[in-house]
């Protein structure tokens, strides 16, 4: 195993150069997949026989909900790595991932509500999935608020890492308990129609859209962390050389 690769990756300057080369490719690929997946879902798939056209929100809702959960897990693992090995770049990644994840979590909640109105007849049902996404949103807000409360960047990094790790341990417990709570209280057990068997002509655009949104997240994450690297390293010679060329 070649460990020097990891050490190089943890160096902000190396990561900045490397991500700069990656950025245009990720951006183009993300744009392509999102545009194809969403236009396909919006214009070219037949309507669902139960829900009519409102189900087209699925091409937006499912990627957002999936990303909200994935980003939190990724953020917590990154935080743990940064906490244990004291890697500055890992904390920059955590601080960049939290707002992206929170924005997708909010999108999943809002599109879920908009989807619920024509499908279930109400904007909100206390369904197990919507409820756990709502709790995930609170976890994101807590993480963002904790970071902003500290003056020192190092203290904030370590505090946020602890909170993220505790949140990661709790996430499956919350998920199971909410699902259990939902089965206990009958009356709110409305299942999303079409979740078990989905026609191929709907599944392929959905998968394209999910891939597109994941790539898009990688793209905006790279944009964010590059700006954050410049911000935190602005007293180093290489950043001054890079930005000073314009002045």
């Amino acid at each position: 195993m070649n460990w020097t690769f990891f050490h190089r990756m943890a160096s902000p300057k190396w990561f900045y150069d490397f991500s700069g080369r990656l950025l245009p490719w990720v951006g183009m690929l993300a744009l392509g997949c999102v545009v194809i997946g969403l236009t396909w879902g919006l214009l070219f798939t037949p309507p669902d026989y139960l829900q009519g056209n409102s189900y087209r929100i699925i091409f937006l809702h499912v990627p957002a909900a999936s990303l909200a959960l994935t980003i939190y897990s990724g953020l917590a693992v990154t935080a743990a790595i940064g906490f244990i090995w004291k890697i500055k770049l890992a904390d920059m990644a955590v601080s960049c991932l939290a707002p992206i994840g929170a924005s997708f979590c909010a999108l999943a909640l809002i599109t879920g509500a908009i989807w619920g109105k024509p499908t279930w007849g109400t904007w909100w049902v206390w369904d197990a999935r919507l409820t756990s996404v709502l709790i995930l949103q609170f976890l994101y807000f807590g993480l963002i608020a904790l970071r902003e409360a500290f003056d020192s960047r190092e203290t904030a990094a370590r505090a946020c890492a602890i909170l993220a790790m505790v949140g990661l341990v709790n996430l499956p417990i919350i998920k199971f308990s909410v699902e259990w709570w939902n089965t206990l209280h009958q009356g709110a057990t409305i299942r999303v129609a079409g979740e078990s068997s989905m026609a191929m002509e709907m599944l392929i655009p959905l998968l394209t859209s999910i891939a597109g949104f994941y790539l898009f997240t990688l793209f905006v994450f790279l944009l964010r962390i590059r700006a954050e690297i410049l911000n935190r390293e602005q007293n180093t010679a290489w950043v001054r050389g890079l930005l000073g060329a314009n002045f």
Partner: protein
């Protein structure tokens, strides 16, 4: 450090915290009064209909206990942090995670335990059937220590901040949800004459998990707050 020394050191901390709590009667009574106050707001909010109150009773007891516990947490480490006692404790040879768990135990003895003992009174005021009362006491007995353990992580993270109160609630309340669901689930089951031992076992499992891992996180969070 020998086991005897460890037990004696932790016993000292426990006695000190309890003595401090009993010297300040206000701090001892306030969470209890708050618990009663919040619970009595619900009938005023939803109306005095006995049918409605019977349905929401279990949830009200738990939500009130949750809020009372959370508000009391802010003071868990604060005075020790402000007068430097916390730093002294961290310099001592006692493992910080055990010191933290002892302080949590002392805190639970003066807040969580009294709440557990008076909760049946509120349950009776809400018209819950007698079968639900053992479930209320048992779930609170297993649940409130878990709340204190999880909340202590948040209290440790925010102890160095001037306006930690509302932030503390934002951090800890989402993590309280599994305990709340299990507690109210058991009370509901008991009130309707169903067995509720499964809920209790799950709560016990959560508590075992909490006692194992939370002290490490509390210790780490205190280190972050004190050493900056």
């Amino acid at each position: 450090m020998t086991l005897r020394g460890l037990v004696r050191g932790l016993g000292c901390i426990l006695r000190r915290d309890l003595r401090l709590a009993f010297r300040n009667r206000g701090d001892l009574m306030n969470p209890l009064v708050f618990f009663f106050l919040v619970a009595s707001l619900f009938p005023l909010g939803v109306g005095p209909s006995p049918d409605v109150l019977r349905i929401i009773g279990g949830g009200v007891v738990w939500v009130s206990a949750l809020l009372a516990n959370m508000l009391a947490l802010d003071s868990l480490f604060r005075s020790d942090y402000e007068d430097g006692a916390l730093e002294q404790l961290m310099l001592s040879p006692l493992p910080l995670s055990l010191v933290a768990v002892t302080k949590v135990l002392a805190h639970w003895l003066v807040t969580g335990l009294p709440i557990t003992l008076v909760a049946p009174v509120i349950a009776i005021m809400f018209g819950l059937p007698a079968e639900a009362l053992p479930a209320i006491v048992a779930t609170l007995l297993l649940g409130t220590p878990m709340l204190s353990l999880v909340g202590a992580i948040g209290a440790g993270l925010t102890v160095g901040l001037r306006k930690g109160g509302i932030l503390l609630s934002l951090l800890t309340l989402p993590l309280y949800i599994p305990v709340l669901i299990l507690g109210t689930g058991a009370i509901d089951a008991a009130a309707n004459g169903f067995p509720w031992s499964a809920h209790l076992m799950w709560q016990g499992a959560l508590l075992a998990l909490g006692i194992t891992f939370a002290p490490l996180a509390i210790g780490a969070s205190l280190r972050v707050s004190v050493s900056g």
